[in-house]
Symmetry: C2
Subunit: 347 residues, 2 copies
């Protein structure tokens, strides 16, 4: 796409907002170097103006849109949703609806962002429920896991829709030519699992989609990158990605503690410091930050609530890549083929 | 318990059986040093006798029980179950039923072991379905996760039963005085999750069990050791533990590759080799090998199919600790209290 990309940012969402958000935009402005024409920055003018004065690269890119209210990170989901209307998050998403921006980005309350995404942008045709897609490191890059929390219970057709949505995401954001898609299960034999995954497996095999479906995968295959995309319900996906995060953290903790336990190890660690930094970088959740709400009628990127500037810059890159792509058209072919097949079965 | 412990081993189950099994018993015989009086060894005499000749410590402890047939690792679940009757696995479990041995241990086909455990040993009173409990490293020791694969779909009362079974397991095998128990969910707020986990949470709060219930935990809390026991259904638990395994493997791969990438890092790695070994040891699945089928009318320990000698020795230690404990009595108090409460509700 040659059109200039415009992004719409909720400056007030996130544990370290708005400082980390503005610092992240500043970093992104340098990295993206002209690939984004403008960022609409939604939040309290009195708070954001002094920050923009400190970050000149961000200031050059941003157009400040004052909004007095915002959704607090400590709000309970029900509160958050009540407060969402007219907030900085609301206005960030509304700019996408009104065609002013290509994508909205927020590190704020996930539940509220999801609900107002649905209210303002509606769903893509032939998608029943949105899914959150997350990226997780694998030996050759990243695995895309979805859903990681939008739907705690899923039907088989929903899982097929997630496969279609996630496959296009992997193609665009992780630049895989023909991403393979696996269905998460407790074993790879076709008798394993519950009724929903077995039905989804049958559907994926029968639907004749333009999609490289590889069958069942197991939990360890996420980090091992057995397939580029791992499809599951929002309960299992959320637990799996968090279990992986916890383990990466434990491994780093144990290693650090062992290395500090005597001076010889410390000396060795000093010499091979570069290697540790490489490992840390590979396993760093910041580098895979930027989950997407797939299936909505517009692009909404969810950054980790606890993100720092670097992580937020990464979420902006995800939004930029998706904005510059023809994602919405790409998914329509498979979605229509699947919906037509489903209709034939019931008619 | 002052009575001598007798264990019953399926020598033919496992990817590296029977070599790894006999080598594991040999290692265990040295480590356990007199704490086990006898091991009944079930399998093909013509194969096992030459092996026992090579492992004198194992030979001293083992009483060979010839069995011609065995369940192959490559058998499909349905085949495996048909072949199970009269196999080495069958005889290993039957010795527990007949009071000859305190616990059975197999690295063979999980599905077959589960089915014949139920057929031969029945269920503990007030437990509806057995669960497989696995141990996973945490900063201070191990977290117990259950179920990791016996039940892909669970009801809320089943999750409460798992909490009771797992709590006693953590107390005995990991020697925690009052293990805390968490219920795996996608968030810690009480509105999160699906109906089953919310109902189980209410039940655990209301049941007045002798149990340190800590509420909901998330996937990352498994490796972080937020609670000593993590209760979940067999689908989610299987995915979570495998996701953690995959991530530990990825972290080790990435670190090794980085350290080998130039001579300075290699030198550093050489100096701090001891620290890496400590980390490797901590994250090594071998050290947490030995899952238990909890809820059966007798003790059955499932070793990882791919186990080596060291891992199998560890599974034997789990069996020994459980055998020397009063596990069956320990769980009865909580199980009865819960069953009585459930009955009152329905009457």
């Amino acid at each position: 796409m040659t059109n200039p990309v415009c992004l719409s940012v909720d400056a007030m969402g996130g544990d370290h907002a708005p400082e980390a958000i503005i610092a992240g935009i500043d970093l992104f402005a340098i990295q993206a170097n002209g690939k984004v024409s403008k960022i609409l920055l939604h939040g309290q003018q009195q708070v954001l103006e002094p920050l923009l004065a400190k970050f000149p690269n961000a200031a050059k890119l941003c157009e400040l849109r004052h909004t007095e209210t915002y959704v607090a990170m400590t709000d309970k989901p029900s509160q958050a949703i009540r407060r969402a209307r007219g907030s900085s998050m609301w206005n960030a998403v509304r700019a996408v609806k009104e065609g002013e921006a290509n994508a909205a980005i927020s590190a704020g309350n996930t539940g509220a962002l999801m609900v107002l995404g649905k209210v303002l942008l509606g769903m893509v045709k032939n998608v029943h429920r949105p899914a959150i897609a997350a990226s997780w490191p694998s030996p050759d890059g990243f695995s895309v896991v979805l859903d990681v929390g939008a739907n705690v219970v899923c039907t088989a057709p929903q899982l097929v829709e997630f496969a279609i949505l996630g496959e296009a995401f992997a193609r665009i954001v992780h630049q895989k030519e023909s991403p393979s898609v696996g269905l998460l299960n407790v074993g790879t034999e076709d008798v394993k699992g519950n009724d929903v995954v077995r039905e989804a497996d049958q559907m994926l095999r029968a639907a004749h989609l333009k999609l490289n479906y590889a069958g069942f995968v197991e939990g360890n295959h996420i980090s091992m990158g057995r397939t580029d995309v791992v499809v599951t319900d929002g309960f299992t996906g959320n637990v799996a990605v968090k279990a992986a995060e916890g383990t990466a953290k434990l491994a780093a903790m144990v290693l650090k503690e062992s290395l500090m336990s005597n001076w010889l190890y410390q000396l060795g660690a000093l010499l091979s410091r570069g290697a540790f930094l490489k490992m840390k970088d590979k396993m760093d959740p910041k580098n895979s930050n930027g989950g997407l709400f797939l299936g909505l009628g517009g692009l909404v990127v969810k950054s980790h609530g606890s993100t720092d500037a670097e992580g937020f810059a990464n979420a902006l890159h995800v939004a930029r890549r998706m904005s510059a792509s023809n994602y919405m058209e790409v998914i329509q072919e498979n979605l229509s083929a699947f919906a037509d097949g489903q209709q034939e079965k019931t008619s």
